[in-house]
Amino acid sequence: MTADSKPRTAQARGLDAGLDALPRGIEPERDLWPSIEARLEPRGERAGRRWFWPAAAAVLLVAGSSLVTAVLLHRDEPLVARQQSANGPVSYAAAAFGPGQTLDPTYAAAREELARTLSARIDRLPPGARRKLEQNLAELRRASAEINAALELSPGDPLLEELLLSTYQEELAVLASVNQLTGGNGAGPIDATRMQL
């Protein structure tokens, strides 16, 4: 042991002892319970997590975006209008994200509406586009299940919440884009110009 390391070791021991001696608990100077209690929603009437409100707003913004179009519909895919898929309808219920009770009602309603419209239009997508849509939704579904499982272990984790929010947004962007690309009202032909974005 060198002369320099001797006092350092003693110092480290002193520091460890000091840290051990510190009380782990410190009582707050004022009672925080009344403020907490005022913000506790009754069980079963929860209005949803606050961060899903901005999610719904963000979805409105991305709904008009053509970003997902490039993923869903490749330029080289043949355009086949109203082709019935041999695989049956895409399952939207399976693409639900997270425990239902955590969804903001406005967000959930917007998602349901998009899913309903999409259901009527999916058969108008070219087979390749439909395949990609199914892959995208399955991937988002897997990701959200993993994030939700992690969130159960670590509630309030900001990174996980951000990831989950992003996954929700992506799902709605996919649903919104399909709606947009297949004509908007469900009656007309596929808009080839928009599909080739």
Binding site: R24, I26, P28, I36, S154, P155, G156, P158
Partner: protein
């Protein structure tokens, strides 16, 4: 086993059973049970928040956020870990989320602000050397302080603390090392000047 040891073991088991019952009741919606859990745990949660943030008002906010988040997430709590451990994790997340919001709002890295706040806030009253050590921790740079508080005070492993703080394990170790070094220097300096 001595009578005393058996007695404490019995006491621990009784407290654990009582806490499980409170958690179950709170899960079913009992605010009274949740209030009892609050009173049992607020000291440690606030202590953790205060030492991580080095600011009393922020620590109070984070403590409140942690309990509110815990109430919301309680239905999914499966007792794989102790309620206290789970709650502390929520509190750490509340502190980190608060720091992130503050940085976003101010558009700064936050460490300078943290440092200024720490220096300006002479709270955390205690006595003797504890005051020195508490003050020393409070004056550490945010990254070093948070790593030291989690690892050195609250018993998290470097891996757990790194995961919570969103940093590499090596970074966590070097932050703790830096914190200890700075604390040692400052405590030495304070002894010299006293």
């Amino acid at each position: 086993m001595t009578e005393h040891g058996g007695g404490s073991e019995f006491e621990r088991a009784r407290r654990a059973a009582e806490e499980r019952a409170l958690v179950d009741s709170a899960k079913r919606g009992s605010k009274a049970a949740f209030e009892a859990l609050y009173h049992n745990h607020v000291g440690k949660v606030y202590g953790l928040c205060l030492r991580m943030t080095a600011h009393r008002a922020t620590a109070e906010d984070c403590t409140q956020e942690a309990f509110i988040q815990a109430w919301r997430s309680l239905p999914s709590f499966e007792s794989r870990s102790a309620f206290g451990t789970w709650l502390h994790r929520i509190a750490v997340n509340a502190v980190l989320a608060h720091g992130r919001r503050t940085r976003e709002r101010l558009g700064s890295e936050g460490s300078a602000e943290d440092e200024a706040v720490a220096l300006a806030d002479p709270t955390v009253a205690d006595d003797g050397t504890i005051v020195d050590l508490e003050a020393g921790i409070r004056r550490l740079p945010a990254g070093a302080r948070q790593a030291l508080v989690l690892v050195g005070l609250y018993g998290y492993s470097h891996e757990e603390a790194a995961g919570l703080l969103g940093i590499a394990v090596g970074t966590c170790k070097s932050q703790v090392h830096r914190a200890r070094q700075l604390l040692g220097e400052r405590l030495d300096a304070s002894e010299v000047t006293q």
